[in-house]
């Protein structure tokens, strides 16, 4: 049972990290977004420290959205998606494993890069820790929700932009609770745990809704 899941996970991870996989371009894009922000709002370090967590979260959201079309597209192009559909394994679990591998290839590097990038934004150590922790808890939700959009647009030639438009409304709660939690860690009176636990709950909900809906969409797109 777990044998094929492990094999699939490793295959996806290897493919995304190899040449042509494009996983690490997401981190590069993240860096580019963070670099552009001070040119837009000015180099005032106090202001940057204030909006820093929000900027990091929006950068991570955009980087995740950009990488999502890789989730099923390459597998559809070379036909391995059809093999997966016909393999008789539960498609929902298969999609979940693919999402986790995709997150490990594209989302986890963003989480690891966030502390480094937050130095540019003049964040305090406590805020850096909070942003990294909330990103760790929240970015899987973005990938899992995004899987729905990726599955819906898999058969389209230029689905990337439409995918982003479809997914953005659903990512608003994640963004709200992620930014609030990382902001609450710095400002004293507001509690950190409430928004953080809600963020974790969102990730768990999307771990159910995302694979089920994406599997449904994949089945429909194949017949």
């Amino acid at each position: 049972m777990s044998g094929w899941m492990g094999a699939l996970f490793l295959r996806e991870l290897r493919l995304s990290l190899r040449v042509g996989g494009g996983a690490l371009i997401g981190v590069l894009f993240f860096l580019a977004v963070i670099t552009v922000i001070p040119f837009g709002v000015g180099p005032d370090l106090n202001l940057l420290a204030l909006i820093g967590p929000a900027v990091l979260w929006i950068g991570a959201l955009l980087a995740t959205l950009l990488g999502l079309d890789r989730l099923f597209q390459a597998d559809r192009d070379d036909g391995s998606l059809d093999l997966m559909l016909m393999s008789g394994r539960p498609l929902e679990v298969l999609v979940l494993v693919k999402c986790l591998a995709h997150w490990a290839g594209t989302g986890l590097p963003l989480v690891l890069a966030a502390p480094v990038l937050s130095i540019f934004l003049n964040l305090e150590p406590l805020a850096i820790g909070a942003v990294a922790l909330t990103l760790l808890a929240g970015t899987p939700a973005l990938t899992l929700i995004g899987a729905i959009g990726a599955a819906l647009t898999v058969s389209l030639r230029r689905g990337g932009l439409l995918l982003a438009v479809l997914v953005v409304p659903f990512s608003i709660p994640v963004l709200i609770f992620g930014v609030s939690a990382s902001g609450a860690a710095v400002t004293e009176p507001t509690p950190f745990m409430t928004p953080f636990l809600l963020l974790c709950a969102l990730t768990l909900i999307s771990a159910v809704v995302g694979p089920v809906a994406a599997a449904m969409a994949l089945r429909f797109s194949s017949d």
Binding site: I148, L152, T153, S155, L156, G159, L162, V165, L166, V168, P169, F170, I172, P173, I176, F177, S180, T190, L198, L202, I205, V209, A213, M216, A217, F220, S221
Partner: protein
């Protein structure tokens, strides 16, 4: 039984053709009554003055924006679970209408906000949720327009609509939460138990008029959609017949 009867598009066309004039007449009557009550019966609010008349457009439009999404969600269940042949027609016809009412609700809301709050746009919880709903409507319409085959487009849109129906309460909750975090409730609240009957009745009549208008437009759009699919199958048939003739000629 009624639902099964309606499964036949031809029968649906006949039935809706008979129903539409009555619905339209009822809609006109309801609008006449509602507008009369709005302008000549309903009193001005002691705080907001005559601008309270905007409410009679804003609140019904917002109500319809939500009701239209519920219609689409039920239709999507019909597409995915019962495979009802008219369900995706209904969902596709409802989407532009829902987007239009959401747009009306947004514009009237911001025009109401200018005299009341002094600015056209406030990131108020309700306005923000309606804006998110508007984006979702536009995304659904875009999805329908990008997938060419109507059956596959209907199924994809049904999945997205249902995911949206699950997510909308979560989005609403998180936006409310975000709003109380950033600005403690200072906006005008007009919901609540103490709404006076002289305001409530015109509002209910206007809501009824808008609802009837929705059903008139929805039925008309559904009829259009059925015709569009007929035209498509006929065009495909004609094209394949032409190809068939060409290949048989080539064989000779």
């Amino acid at each position: 039984m009624a639902i099964l009867d309606l499964a036949n598009p031809t029968r649906f066309l006949a039935l809706s053709a008979r129903l539409l004039p009555w619905l339209f007449a009822a809609c006109v009557v309801a609008f006449a009554a509602g507008l009369y009550m709005t302008f000549f019966v309903a009193p001005d609010d002691y705080q907001q003055g005559a601008t309270v008349k905007i409410m009679y457009l804003h609140v019904p439009a917002a109500w319809l924006a939500m009701m239209c999404y519920s219609v689409m969600a039920v239709s999507s269940l019909g597409t995915l679970i019962w495979k009802h042949p008219l369900a995706d027609v209904s969902a596709k016809a409802a989407a532009p209408i829902g987007a239009a009412f959401t747009l009306i609700s947004l514009i009237t809301g911001s025009l109401w906000g200018k005299p009341m709050w002094g600015t056209y746009w406030v990131w108020d919880a309700r306005l923000t949720s309606v804006l998110v709903l508007f984006i979702m409507y536009l995304g659904l319409i875009a999805l329908w327009r990008t997938i060419e085959d109507p059956i596959r487009a209907g199924k994809a849109a049904a999945v997205l609509t249902l995911v949206g129906a699950i997510n909308l309460p979560i989005i609403k909750f998180s936006v409310d939460w975000w709003n109380t975090l950033h600005q403690p409730a200072s906006v005008i609240r007009m919901d609540g138990p103490t709404i006076h009957p002289t305001i409530l009745w015109p509002l209910l009549v206007m809501a009824l008029a808008f609802t009837l208008l929705f059903f008139v437009m929805h039925l008309m759009a559904m009829r259009n959609e059925i015709l569009r699919r007929r035209l498509r199958t006929m065009q495909l048939q004609a094209a394949s017949a032409r190809v068939g003739v060409a290949t048989s000629q080539a064989a000779e």
